[in-house]
C-alpha cells in the first residue's frame, strides 16, 4: 500500500470511536478487527504457502478457550491469558505442520478439517474442563495497570476498540516483516514451484511448519481477544462458519496480498451487518456461498489486486506483493 493510502486508513481507523456514536457500529468495527487478524493469519497459509486450512476455527477456538479458562479457573491476569492464547495454538500449529509434512492440496485441507473436528468434539464432550455446550461465562475484561494509577479495565467498547486496532496493526506488521524477509521469499517460492524451490535449497517442511505456527499463533491471539471482548466462550467458537468467513475474506480481498485480508475482513463484517435488517442469517450465508463462487469466476485474484490493476499505471503493475 502506498504511504498516503496507509496514512489515510490509519487516520480513519484511529479517530473512528470519535465519530462512530452508535455502540452497535463500534461493536461491528471491533469484530471486523478481530476478523482482520484471523484473515491475516489464514492468508499466511493460503496466500503465501498456497495451502488451504479449513481448520482455522480450531486455532481461534483454542486461543479463546485458553484465555477464558486461565483467567476464569486459575485467575491469571488476562495479559498472561492472551500470551497463552498465542502459545497454545502455536503449539497446535506446530503439531499440524509436522503432521502435514508431505501433504498438499486436498490432503492438507482434510487434515485440517479433521483436526478442527476433533478439537470441537473435545470442547463439547470434556465437561470437566470446558463445561461442555454450556460454555464458560464471566471471562474478565482486560486491565491496563499503570504505576500510580488504579487498574483500568477495558470494559468500554471504545477502549477495547483501540486494543483490537493495535492487534490488527501488530498482525499486519508481523506479516509485512515476514513477507519482506528471506522467509517470505522462501514461502512464495514454495507456493510457485515446490520442486524448483527445493532445488535451490529451500527446506519445504521447515518453512511450512514455520508458516503454520505463525498462522496458528495469530488466529489464537484473535481468539483470546474475542474471549475477553464477549466475556463468554462456548463450543460455538469452533463453528465452521468462522472458517468459511475467514476463507471468503481472504479470497475475496485478495490472497497473497497484505491489504487484501484486511479489506476483506472489514467488507465482510460490515456487509452482513448492513444487510441484517433486510435479510436473515441464512440468506447472508447463502449470499456468502454465491459470492465466493462469483469472486472466483470474475475476480479470481480478489478485490485488492483488481483495484491495484485498475488504479496503478501500467508500468507499475507487476509489483510482487
Amino acid at each position: 500500500m502506498r504511504p498516503a493510502a496507509l496514512a489515510g486508513t490509519l487516520l480513519v481507523a484511529v479517530t473512528a470511536p470519535a465519530w462512530v456514536w452508535n455502540p452497535y457500529h463500534l461493536h461491528t468495527l471491533i469484530m471486523a478487527g478481530i476478523f482482520a487478524v484471523l484473515a491475516l493469519s489464514l492468508n499466511l497459509l493460503l496466500g503465501y504457502t498456497g495451502q488451504l486450512s479449513l481448520g482455522h476455527a480450531a486455532f481461534f477456538g483454542i486461543g479463546a478457550y485458553a484465555a477464558a479458562l486461565l483467567s476464569v479457573k486459575l485467575e491469571w491476569s488476562p495479559w498472561l491469558g492472551l500470551l497463552a492464547s498465542v502459545a497454545l495454538p502455536a503449539l497446535a500449529g506446530y503439531v499440524i505442520g509436522r503432521l502435514a509434512l508431505k501433504l498438499r492440496g486436498a490432503y492438507f485441507v482434510l487434515l485440517t478439517i479433521s483436526f478442527a473436528g476433533c478439537v470441537s468434539l473435545v470442547s463439547v464432550n470434556w465437561m470437566d474442563l470446558t463445561n461442555g455446550p454450556l460454555g464458560i461465562p464471566g471471562v474478565p475484561p482486560v486491565e491496563i495497570a499503570l504505576p500510580g494509577l488504579p487498574p483500568l479495565a477495558l470494559r468500554s467498547k471504545s477502549a477495547y476498540y483501540y486494543l483490537v486496532l493495535a492487534a490488527v496493526v501488530l498482525a499486519y506488521l508481523v506479516c509485512l516483516a515476514l513477507i519482506r524477509s528471506r522467509i517470505g521469499r522462501a514461502l512464495i517460492a514454495l507456493r510457485e514451484n515446490e520442486t524448483l524451490a527445493a532445488s535451490v535449497g529451500i527446506d519445504a517442511t521447515h518453512y511450512l511448519v514455520l508458516a503454520a505456527v505463525l498462522s496458528a499463533a495469530m488466529a489464537g491471539f484473535a481468539g483470546g481477544l474475542y474471549a475477553h471482548y464477549t466475556r463468554f466462550v462456548s463450543p460455538e467458537v469452533f463453528l465452521f462458519t468462522y472458517t468459511v468467513t475467514m476463507v471468503i475474506m481472504v479470497v475475496a480481498g485478495g490472497k497473497g496480498t497484505l491489504a487484501g485480508p484486511v479489506v476483506g475482513a472489514v467488507l465482510f463484517t460490515a456487509l452482513p451487518e448492513a444487510l441484517r435488517e433486510l435479510t436473515s442469517y441464512q440468506w447472508q450465508m447463502l449470499l456468502y456461498g454465491v459470492l465466493l463462487i462469483a469472486v472466483l469466476f470474475f475476480m479470481p485474484e480478489g478485490i485488492v489486486p483488481a483495484l491495484r490493476a485498475a488504479w496503478l499505471p501500467r508500468g507499475r503493475r507487476a509489483r510482487p506483493s
Binding site: L99, A106, L111, I113, G117, C118, G289, V290, L292, L296
Partner: protein, 290 residues
C-alpha cells in the same frame, strides 16, 4: 461376545451407506480431478427430495428413492455444466474453493427452504426389531443395507461392463488418449458428476429415514465420504466400497466401547492416521500423493 456381534452387524449395515457415499466422491475425484466439498449437500438433497415426494406428493416409499437419486443426478449435472465446465482449465485449488462456495450456498438454500427443525421420514417398515439369535436388527436397516449393496453392485457393473463404463475408465486412465479415441470428455464429465451426485442422493434418501433430516446433515456425510475415500485411496472404487465398511464398523466399535460422544471423532482420527501412515489409502499400491 453378543454385544460385539451386535456392534459388528450395526457397523456393517451402516458401512454400506458410507461406501455408497464414498464411491460417488472417489469417482468424481479420480475422473475429474475435482475435490467435491459439496458432496454431502447432494446427500442432503436426496434426503429432502425423498421427504418431499413422500409427504407432499404422497408417493410410494419405494418409488421415492429412485426419484431422489434422479433429483440428485439432475442437480449434479446442472452444477457440472454451470460451474465445473467453465473452470476446466483452472487449478484444482480454485475448483475446490468453488465447491466450498457451492456447499455453503446449497446448505443455506436447504435451510431457507425447509427450516432448521429436524424432520423425520415416515416408512412402511415396522420399528419392531427382527431378532436373529443373539443379535437384533430393525427391518428398515436391512432394507437400507440391501438397496445400498444393489446400488454399489449396479455402479460396479456400469463401470465394468458397459460401453459408457469403458469410456469412463478410459478417461480416468488417460484423458487425452481417450479423447483421441472418440470419447466425448465433456459428456463423460457431466455424466460422472451426475452419477456421483446421484449416488450421494441415494445414500441420503436411504439414511434419511434411519436418522433425522436437518439442513446441515450433509456436513457429517461429507466427512464420512472423505474418510472413506481416504481410507480407500482417492480415485479407488473398490477401496471406497471396502473403506465404507471399515469406517462403519470402526465407528460402531468406537461408540460402543469408548464413548458415544466421540463417535464422529473416529472418522477424523482415521483420516489423520491414514494420511500420516498410508496416504495413498489402505488398499492401494504405493503412489504419489498431492
Amino acid at each position: 461376545m453378543d454385544q460385539l456381534l451386535q456392534h459388528l452387524l450395526n457397523g456393517l449395515l451402516l458401512g454400506a451407506t458410507y461406501s455408497l457415499l464414498g464411491i460417488g466422491l472417489t469417482l468424481v475425484f479420480g475422473l475429474m480431478n475435482v475435490v467435491n466439498f459439496a458432496h454431502g449437500e447432494f446427500y442432503t438433497l436426496g434426503a429432502y427430495a425423498a421427504f418431499a415426494v413422500l409427504t407432499l406428493a404422497s408417493v410410494n416409499f419405494f418409488l421415492a428413492i429412485p426419484l431422489a437419486i434422479a433429483a440428485g443426478a439432475l442437480v449434479g449435472a446442472v452444477c457440472e455444466r454451470g460451474l465445473l465446465r467453465p473452470l476446466r482449465a483452472q487449478s484444482i485449488d480454485t475448483v475446490m474453493l468453488v465447491m466450498i462456495g457451492l456447499w455453503i450456498a446449497m446448505q443455506n438454500a436447504e435451510l431457507l427452504g425447509w427450516g432448521g427443525v429436524a424432520k423425520s421420514v415416515p416408512t412402511p417398515f415396522t420399528t419392531e426389531p427382527l431378532v436373529l439369535g443373539a443379535v437384533s436388527v430393525a427391518p428398515l436397516r436391512i432394507f437400507v443395507f440391501t438397496v445400498s449393496g444393489l446400488l454399489i453392485l449396479g455402479a460396479h457393473l456400469l463401470l465394468a461392463r458397459t460401453k459408457l463404463g469403458r469410456a469412463m475408465r478410459a478417461t480416468f486412465q488417460d484423458r487425452e488418449t481417450a479423447a483421441l479415441m472418440g470419447v466425448s470428455i465433456e459428456r463423460i464429465h457431466t455424466i460422472t458428476f451426475a452419477f456421483g451426485a446421484g449416488l450421494a442422493a441415494g445414500a441420503g434418501a436411504l439414511l434419511g429415514p434411519v436418522f433425522l433430516l436437518y439442513p446441515s446433515m450433509g456436513d457429517l456425510a461429507s466427512l464420512k465420504a472423505f474418510s472413506v475415500v481416504i481410507l480407500g485411496g482417492l480415485g479407488n472404487f473398490g477401496g471406497a466400497a471396502l473403506g465404507g465398511l471399515v469406517l462403519g464398523i470402526a465407528e460402531e466399535l468406537g461408540a460402543g466401547y469408548v464413548s458415544s460422544g466421540y463417535r464422529d471423532a473416529v472418522g477424523f482420527l482415521m483420516i489423520v492416521a491414514v494420511l500420516l501412515l498410508r496416504p495413498s489409502g489402505l488398499f492401494a499400491r504405493a503412489e504419489r500423493v498431492g
